[in-house]
């Protein structure tokens, strides 16, 4: 389990190779990369800054990953989230999970992304033609996280 918050970019191929190398029990690696789009809520975005809460960010991400490891059979996981100034097409986040079987790897990867979006203290500020603006949280992200609650039966 590795969680990193950094300004530097990351290399997907290298990170996944490190995640899976030398473990012949791994049959599946699911991964996700989030990227800066040049359009947000219908408005052009020329640049973005990601702020975070140092300390709590890492703690929140580690808790999210620990919960994923309890729910699914995983060999390893990786979360890298960038902070600071970013431009369209830049990589923002990488989440990956390795497992014996694909269902666990996919579910864990999607679960970590959904919970990261609602629980990890990051905030985006976008540069638009009308000036800088803080991004509002999306209701669809709350809904995405909610579906993993055992009480609503999604995982039955």
């Amino acid at each position: 389990m590795s969680v990193r918050v950094q300004t530097a970019d990351f290399d997907l191929g290298e990170e996944i190779l490190k995640l899976r190398r030398g473990n012949p029990k791994i049959g599946a690696v699911a991964s996700f990369v989030g990227l800066v789009r040049d359009l947000s809520e219908g408005t052009a975005v020329s640049a973005m800054t990601l702020e975070h809460y140092p300390g709590m960010t890492e703690k929140a991400l580690e808790e999210i990953v620990a919960e994923a490891k309890q729910r699914w059979e995983l060999y390893d996981t990786l979360v890298i989230h960038r902070v600071g100034p970013l431009l369209p097409t830049d990589q923002i986040v990488l989440v990956a999970a390795s497992s014996a079987h694909r269902q666990d790897a996919f579910a864990a990867c999607e679960f970590i992304m959904d919970y990261l979006k609602t629980r990890a203290p990051f905030w985006k500020k976008e540069e638009t033609p009308d000036g800088a603006r803080w991004v509002d949280a999306r209701e669809s992200d709350d809904e995405a996280a909610l579906r993993w609650d055992s009480t609503n039966g999604y995982n039955d």
Binding site: Y53, M56, H81, F122, W134, A137
Partner: protein, 84 residues
């Protein structure tokens, strides 16, 4: 004494990223702290008005108005998160 941190839109609107506040018998929970800050008026009253989507963490765990505050703890106020 507790440390209060402000992030993102809140940090900008309040013009402050951190401060120290003294605890007292009438300031011992997250709810008390919010009331105390609101009473400052202006941007404080606007940004922390009831119904505003403000999130609070105590010692880096998500908290609610009933969460007690202890001397030396770190409280953070911030908008709903938007990473990923």
């Amino acid at each position: 004494m507790i440390t209060v941190l402000y992030f993102a839109r809140l940090r900008e609107s309040l013009g402050l990223d951190r401060e120290q506040i003294e605890l007292s018998s009438s300031l011992s929970t997250v709810g008390d702290l919010i009331a105390h800050l609101r009473a400052r008026g202006g941007a404080w009253q606007t940004e922390l008005a009831p119904g505003k989507p403000v999130r609070i963490a105590v010692d880096q765990d998500m908290a609610n108005p009933a969460t007690p505050l202890a001397d030396g703890c770190e409280v953070a106020l911030f908008p709903p998160v938007t990473g990923g």
